[in-house]
Amino acid sequence: MTTSTVAETAAPAPRRFSRTSPSLLLVVAMGAFLVLSAVRTFTGGYDLTSSGTVAAGLSAAVPIGLAGLGGLWAERSGVVNIGLEGMMILGTWGCGFLGYNHGPWAGLLFGTLLGAAGGLIHAIATVTFGVDHIISGVAINIIAPGLALYLTKVTFAHYEGGGQKQSPPINDAKAITLPFSHWLHTIEDKHWFAVSDLAGLIGGVTTRLSLVTLLAVLVLVGSGWILWRTAFGLRLRSCGEAPYAAESLGVNVYKYKYIAVVVSGAMAGLGGSALAISAHQFRDGQTGGRGFIGLAALIFGNWRPGSLAAGAGLFGYTDAIQLRSSAAVHALLLLMAIALALIAVWQWRTGQRTIAVVALVIAVLSVLWFADTKKVPDELVGTTPYVVTILVLALASQRLRMPKADGKVYRRGEGH
């Protein structure tokens, strides 16, 4: 996506990042795929690369990715938005409210609007009144679930299919299936090394692909394009890097921050709507912290759309695996050990000896755990995405750099 094509940031960063070349990225991706395929063949954890897992992972990644994208818009303009979770909840409720009798798209639109309204509140508090960004976000996270439940009880609670904590069912959004996908399934079922895995990968993406997912991909690409390829985006990002410098060049920082935060809320609302549509209704507690996970994906992705999407994909994938099969999670232990061993080798070579040893120790423990047991305990299976994230953040050296003025209160004319 935009990872390899991004232009420079507005303010020169003290340390420039070497952008990974597309060909290197391709080699790494292919290597990862072959390892995945080998582990799948060896362990028989077929769900590691089955089309079902890929499809489920993709739809699980969509709300997380959209929340992260919401974070990207806000934080690139210098406003931390920890209220994403609340705005997502507003989105799920809005989608449920209009979705059950006007169809998923009306619901989606209304959910997005409600999310944007949440963003507007955050913008008023943080930009106009200069309130600490975290406080405002926490307040929104408190108000939103309360408001959603309150509104549920005074609106659709007594309709057919509705309840004190849920909306009546929403119809499914249209999904598309490409014509060749059925023989991909045939290949997939042969369980051939690499070939079947590739078929599963492509099959998962081309079978019953929801239009909502497609929309999310468009929004992601569009956001990357607007933020990094247009003058508007450059100005918006300059507000997040050096607002007073932007101000001195005639940029209306307040305006850009307002736009960014409202769009941020809209993205979170869209993510919430996608969640409600894929669950066919609004339910209390449906978001389950996905707004926070989106924020994690954003940081994981170094405040860039492409790597953010990769982070969301990782979450979605591990989430899908743990839902689908415990054999696959068991196989994931081995996969994790291989990845950690590779990290260990790499860190050793870059001189990070301690990290390398720690990574190796965890890798050995994972192998022992894999060999010693038949399956991972059910309760621990659900923690997979979080453990993987912590390990990646802790062990793979990442030079994360957030926008320079991120989270700082800006007041016009006060830059001394």
Binding site: I121, A125, F129, G130, V131, D132, I134, I135, S136, V138, A139, I140, N141, I142, I143, A144, P145, G146, L147, L149, Y150, L151, K153, V154, G289, F292, I293, L295, A296, I299, F300, I355, P377, E379, L380, V381, G382, T383, P385, Y386, V387, T389, I390, L393, A394, L395, L400
Partner: protein, 396 residues
């Protein structure tokens, strides 16, 4: 005052009183005091207005709602309930605010206290006898588990530069899975619920009776009060507390003055987690005596809000905890008059938001007034009476 004056005659007493009043007026000018109260009161009024508007839109009478809530709070049993809840909120807020003092955002109180309560419940259930040492053992285990879980985030932050916001969010999610795994391993089933072995009487914290109800105020109140004092003393009166604050306010200045920022970060995180470990104990040691899946959740997030509302001050957080608990508990009664109790959550959030907005507005207004004072001072060439004469005119 003259040197002959022995300070006992009626005249001199009047003079002393006048002197005291003057000193107080100099130190706390009326305007400044009024402005200080304007923010929280204005915010609560605004929150009342906003929630009234929402209630009216939903077809409910705001008057009835507020009346029901206040009436409920006055009854003995709900009152005790409210005190107990406020205590728990307070512990959580203190844990969060220790991090805040150093610009560390410990979202992980949630996971820290749930694992800590599980650990304390397990150890408490295994032990028998031992008198007060039984309780001490439980508290120590809770503090250690909470600190250890927070310590992971601390180590990651210090040695790997991993944002504690992210790592604690992840650790919260992992704590949920790990907690339920450990509960199945260590617990025993009772009915269709799994719980740890009940704590015997020596490990239970005696409660305080309250007239008119059988419910007792958790004896852990004493610990919370002591903790509040300790927090006030350490944060405001010791070199350690000063270092923590300096590091939070200006890291470069802290480094320049010889503070080991890495170590302080780790220590602050461990302290925050240790206090977070206490959050589950009032309920565990005072009421349930066993840990199960039904233990209260969400206390960590409430703690964040309360620490923010109370601006990290021990007294402020206590007031905020009481307010939070009042809104939450008294709203339970609203279901009986057909009003969704979630209106309380809306009120809580609106209060939090409007309090901080009000503080900000007052701060800006003060600045304007001070500028005017300075201007007047410069024009006439003498100090003005309107503000404290010795107050510094330059503000950050």
């Amino acid at each position: 005052m003259t040197s002959r004056d022995d300070g006992t005659g009626p005249a001199s007493q009047v003079r002393i009183r006048a002197g005291l009043v003057n000193r107080l007026r100099q130190r706390y000018p009326l305007r400044s005091v009024l402005l200080g109260f304007a923010a929280p009161i204005g915010a609560i009024l605004f929150a009342a207005l906003a929630s009234s508007a929402i209630l009216s839109l939903g077809g409910h009478s705001p008057g009835d709602v507020f009346q029901t809530m206040f009436k409920q709070a006055g009854k003995p049993t709900p009152f005790v309930d409210m005190v107990n809840q406020a205590m728990v909120y307070y512990l959580s807020a203190v844990a969060v605010s220790i991090g805040f003092r150093m610009n560390l955002f410990n979202i992980g109180v949630e996971g820290q206290y749930s694992l800590a309560a599980l650990g304390a419940a397990y150890v408490g259930g295994q032990l028998t006898g031992g008198g007060p040492l039984h309780i001490v053992a439980e508290v120590v285990v809770a503090v250690l588990v909470g600190a250890a879980w927070a310590g992971i985030a601390g180590v990651l932050k210090v040695y790997r530069g991993v944002s504690e916001v992210i790592s604690t969010i992840m650790l919260n999610a992992i704590a949920v899975g790990l907690g339920s795994y450990l509960l199945h391993k260590l617990g025993q089933s009772s009915g269709n619920n799994i719980q740890t072995k009940p704590i015997s009487s020596s490990g239970q914290f005696p409660g305080i009776s309250y007239s008119g109800t059988h419910s007792k105020i958790f004896g852990f109140l004493i610990v919370a009060v002591v903790l509040g004092f300790a927090y006030w003393f350490i944060a405001g009166r010791t070199r350690f507390g000063f270092r923590i604050r300096v590091t939070g306010l200006n890291e470069e200045a802290a480094v320049a003055s010889g503070v080991n920022v890495k170590r302080m970060t780790l220590v602050a995180m461990l302290l925050s987690g240790g206090v977070a470990g206490l959050v589950g104990l009032p309920e565990l040691l005072g009421q349930t005596h066993t840990f199960s899946q039904t233990a209260q959740s969400g206390l960590g997030f409430a703690g964040i809000a309360i620490a923010l509302l109370g601006r990290n001050s021990p007294i402020g957080m206590a007031l905020a905890a009481v307010l939070w608990s009042f809104l939450g508990k008294s709203a339970n009664q609203l279901d009986f008059i057909g009003v969704p109790r979630e209106i309380a959550a809306i009120m809580q959030g609106v209060i939090l938001l409007s309090v901080v907005i009000a503080y900000e507005l007052v701060r800006r207004y003060r600045l304007v007034l001070q500028q005017k004072d300075v201007a007047a001072q410069l024009a006439t060439g003498e100090p003005t009476e309107r503000d404290a004469p010795s107050a510094p005119v330059v503000t950050a």
